[in-house]
């Protein structure tokens, strides 16, 4: 079993098989995005209190979910890399960081644009907003640490440790609106209840799944590049570039 997984996750095998998967992620991303835009802007109704401003939720909430999801993937991949020494896991962790940072940034910016007209402020130091800002800093710290070492093995280890320690921030972000009084409202969508109208929920889900597929496609594309750089001295990469075995 182990040998089989390790063979499958070998850089060369990954490089060859991942190319075929990317279109299967890109096409659903585009279709789900278009459906989500239609559902969010045309089908779903305006809110009884916020009017059309509520529609920024369809970007804000999926982006915020992705910011947490990508971080968990990054930390788990780092942990797998540390424990089982799988090269590909470190690659996935490294290339996920800028994508996660981008989703976090998007969540913060759209939240700010939403907060000004509704709450009356661009920013507040409440528990939810502050912990999400810390998440952005964690991503940035991970990226700088990963780039700070010349030896890729040291970089892999050090940044994976940072990612795993930072994992503690994820439940804090999620439960911040329950544990403390905050300006940010509680969750509208959880396993037990959905407190929004059904068309709003459908739009939200369409964009959420679109973002998941986008993340998958971006991870594969960036991992392929990273694998080539890391394996540049191996025979299969040289053969791939030059077309011969010299």
């Amino acid at each position: 079993m182990w040998k089989w997984i390790q063979a499958f996750a070998s850089p060369q095998n990954f490089y060859q098989s991942s190319e075929k998967i990317i279109p299967w992620l890109m096409v659903p991303f585009i279709l789900l995005s278009l459906a989500g835009l239609y559902w969010g802007l045309v089908v779903s109704p305006a809110d009884y209190q916020q009017g059309d401003s509520v529609r920024i939720m369809f970007v804000h909430v999926p982006a915020a979910w992705m910011s947490l999801f990508v971080y968990v993937v990054m930390a788990v991949a780092g942990g797998i890399g540390l424990i089982w020494q799988i090269k590909l896991a470190f690659v996935v962790a490294k290339v996920s960081a800028p994508i996660g940072a981008a989703f976090t940034f998007l969540a913060l910016i759209t939240g700010s644009i939403w907060g000004k007209p509704m709450w009356g402020t661009w920013w507040a130091w409440d528990a939810r907003l502050t912990s999400e800002l810390i998440l952005l800093f964690l991503y940035l710290a991970y990226m700088s640490l990963n780039n700070a070492f010349d030896n890729p093995k040291t970089a892999n280890k050090a940044s994976a440790i940072l990612a795993i320690v930072g994992l503690v921030n994820i439940p804090i972000i999620y439960y911040s609106v329950e544990w403390w009084n905050s300006l940010h409202q509680g969750s509208s969508v959880s396993v037990s209840k959905v407190s929004m109208q059904i068309d709003m929920f459908i739009a939200l889900m369409l964009i959420s799944f679109a973002f998941k597929f986008l993340y998958g496609a971006l991870v594969l594309m960036r991992s392929r590049d990273e694998v080539l750089v890391r394996e540049q001295n191996s025979r299969w990469v040289r053969m791939l570039i030059t077309g011969s075995e010299k």
Partner: protein, 139 residues
């Protein structure tokens, strides 16, 4: 233990250490990580009276009065209430019955506010549904 098990223990300790550190941190911070105090907490003397702090609650229905930019209203958590004085522009979502968070300080029992923010809850629905819910409540 094999090397792999060693590394598993290392990762486990890393996570446990992080959780412990953060738990201690929030124990020490206590209620300081709350964004605002409720009227009851202020009445119990938990808020730093004499300094600026944030007070959150619902705007009492029928309490809102306005003269140009000067407004007065009451904020309640259905147990205690405070009168708020505020000069400035109120956010779009401000209305009676709405949750708000206001920054200011207590002067002779009246909360003089420098900022008023509106809170909204996690329920989103079209106006027709909100109307129907309202009617059902009245019955």
């Amino acid at each position: 233990m094999t090397k792999r098990q060693n590394r598993m223990v290392f990762v486990g300790l890393l996570i446990a250490g992080a959780i412990l550190a953060v738990t201690l941190l929030f124990q020490a911070l206590g209620t300081n990580s709350n964004y605002f105090y409720s009227p009851t907490e202020v009445a119990q003397g938990k808020a730093p009276v004499g300094r600026s702090f944030r007070l959150g609650g619902l705007v009492t229905v029928g309490s809102f009065k306005r003269e140009d930019l000067k407004s007065t209203f009451e904020v309640t958590d259905n147990k205690n209430k405070f009168t708020i004085q505020y000069t400035g522009i109120l956010p779009d979502l401000f209305r009676e019955g709405q949750g708000i968070i206001t920054t200011g300080s207590l002067v002779d029992g009246i909360f003089v506010a420098t900022e008023v923010l509106a809170k909204h809850d996690e329920n989103y629905m079209p106006p027709e549904v909100a109307d129907a819910l309202e009617k059902a409540k009245e019955k």
